[in-house]
Symmetry: C2
């Protein structure tokens, strides 16, 4: 398996485009993206668990109930959520793009992200769809740009892998910066692959993968209303179709996981206002669920996040977060260390502080990727969670998001 260029257009038969259609006032930021597969693809998706759901969630669920899709249309700048005409607008987005592409409107995945509770005007979308379709090409970055909200960086990756001697490719783009605290899926992630795989096995792969990837990312504890992760697999690599568990499925899972972990790290690093990506690795838990709960509790702690912003080795806040994680943990056996490319430092052994060099700790914590290593000393359960620091800019960005 190797990392390759091309993002969502790396896999055979996929093209993409992104333009500024006018939902957002800033004309330098694209706000409408399209992904298209030459052939109808197997489709799988996972969605937000928030009771308040974007209209696009309902429409997409219905459209891919048959496990098939051929295009993805997504706007940013407006979530089309809590709008009386939300479903109607989302369906209109599908039919407009389907007409232009000459495909079935039931084969369109639709997504929206942005402000909640403001009506989404279909006009700028309608007017721009011909250009959007005309621009379809090897334009993964344009599509990645078009789905961004407060994101500061494009998030894309692709890898190639081998199924039974046939080269396959898988690529993904993501957006997600604030309102990130997954419960099923999270943020917007679109993944494309030319691997032949049944929609059932594709859904198995995705549903299994997100438990250890997107469900382990938190920026601010707010589970969004519009989260969606979708995978389209069009089979154009012409491998023997994966229709059961086994070696080929495992290979596909590994490639998918490379894409999703990379995107998780991108999303955490680009969390609203973030200056640091935090990766919390918990080992020695009674089971993996305990390890996950502990890792997420640490990554979600406002006080730990603020301490990391200040490069302050305040490990007591990590112990505190472990203590309220509602898990069976013996706090007298907990070890904590901090690690970055500047080295590693132990700060807590058996639940109590140990002497350490504050100077060395500062040096480690001033880096922009920090690992928080926790050993619980109970069993063999482990987990990793990703997050970011809490900064002035998070407050600034969210103090006047709408204006």
């Amino acid at each position: 398996m190797k990392i390759i260029d091309g993002g969502i257009c790396a896999a055979k038969g996929f093209t993409a485009s992104g333009i500024h259609c006018g939902i957002r006032k800033n004309r330098t930021k694209k706000d409408l993206s399209l992904i298209y597969s030459e052939k109808i693809a197997s489709a799988a998706a996972v969605y937000t668990t928030n009771l308040v759901k974007g209209a696009t969630i309902d429409v997409t669920k219905k459209n891919i109930a048959d496990g098939k899709a051929q295009a993805v249309i997504c706007n940013s700048g407006n979530a089309n959520t809590c709008n009386a005409d939300g479903i109607e607008v989302a369906e209109k987005m599908c039919s407009l793009v389907a007409d232009e592409l000459k495909i079935d409107k039931k084969d369109v995945v639709v997504a929206s992200t942005g402000v909640i509770g403001q009506p989404l005007d279909i006009e700028p979308i309608k007017n721009s769809i011909p250009e959007l379709v005309k621009n379809l090409g090897n334009n993964s970055q344009d599509a990645a740009n078009g789905i961004m909200t407060t994101d500061t960086k494009i998030k894309e990756i692709a890898v190639s892998f081998n199924i039974g001697g046939t080269e396959c490719k898988i690529g993904g783009i993501a957006k997600g910066s604030g309102m990130i605290h997954p419960d099923m899926a999270t943020m917007l992630v679109f993944i494309t692959t030319d691997c032949a795989i049944t929609s059932k096995m594709l859904q198995n792969a995705l549903s299994s993968d997100i438990k250890d990837t997107f469900n382990m990312v938190s920026v601010d504890g707010d589970t969004s209303t519009n989260d969606m992760v979708t995978v389209l697999a069009n089979g154009m690599a012409e491998n023997n179709e994966i229709d059961t568990f086994g070696e080929d499925f495992d290979t596909f899972m590994k490639a998918l996981n490379t894409v999703t972990v990379y995107l998780c790290r991108c999303i955490a690093a680009d969390g609203e206002g973030a200056t640091k990506m935090l990766e919390c690795k918990v080992e020695g838990a009674n089971d993996s669920l305990t390890a996950k709960k502990v890792a997420k509790s640490i990554i979600c702690s406002s006080l730990t996040k603020a301490a990391m912003f200040g490069a302050d080795a305040n490990w007591g806040r990590i112990l505190c977060a472990i203590g309220y994680a509602k898990c069976d943990v013996d706090v007298k056996k907990v070890d904590v260390s901090f690690k970055s490319k500047m080295g590693i430092i132990d700060v807590c052994k058996n639940g109590s502080g140990i002497e350490f060099s504050e100077e060395k700790a500062k040096e480690i914590l001033l880096e922009d990727e920090i690992e928080i290593l926790v050993k619980l000393g109970d069993g063999s359960g482990s987990a990793t969670a990703w997050g970011c620091d809490l900064t002035y800019d998070y407050v600034k960005i969210n103090g006047d998001y709408r204006t």
Copy 2:
């Protein structure tokens, strides 16, 4: 019932003091407080549910297991948590103060608050206890100051009430600014009353009251390791002792609730970095548990808190927080309004946005006490939660708390 002066010294037989003993470097800030009752008092307490507990929690639990106490000693600047010698130091605090007061060391409530994981030196405490005892008097404010950490304001109140024709008094002090997200009790609160009440009924009153008061306050989602609320009732008002449920108990509950609600509001308003106190009132829930979950979800949402800082009527974030509260709520029936002393404005009806004057909304939200009113339209369950906005200063305070 009426509000009176005197704080924890308002009730007969209670005196207090607070001094700077040297745990904190800043000599203008007191760091050691004492509360004393002439007579042995009925004692009740509730504690943090964090698995990582301050050593003082264990010692206090043991000391008041018999339902009796006569003094409270509390330091700030160091939590005495995650220290190998924590229990020993906490017990030493009790015996030193007991010796000086000539009372039983088992009748001392001990509490510590501040940085986790740094050994607490007993020397400055030991050296200052004679002066602390000598200063005992009508000094509620000194004691309130001595327990403060990042608090910017003293929090105290007292009320008088009538039990069977006898005037009783109850007063309290509190500290709490960050690491506030209760699960049982929260922060440090010390309440004194001269009402005669058995320790069993006192515990009933406290355990019942905190469910609607301290358990409904959140500043940052971090449940502290040292939370404690204690009530001492010395009976010196000489009312007929309350030993059962009934009218007198209800009167006592009402007085206690006046004290606790006031302190909750103070704690929320003085949340770390806060510029606004948020009071979220939820009505029309299927039951009160649902109302509580919804109210707390809103008050804990980082995005809602940041929007309030920016005086931005971004009600979509409130709907979002309702949606992930994991409750049985019909989001299509939710109404949301904002209220302050500048008026009230409806922003969402039946789960969808309605037209409103952004100018008027801004005017309302620029005030420093904001009510977020939510009607769920399902039943008669209601609840109130208290919190504060999320500001630059929260990040600043917690980015370098230890330095």
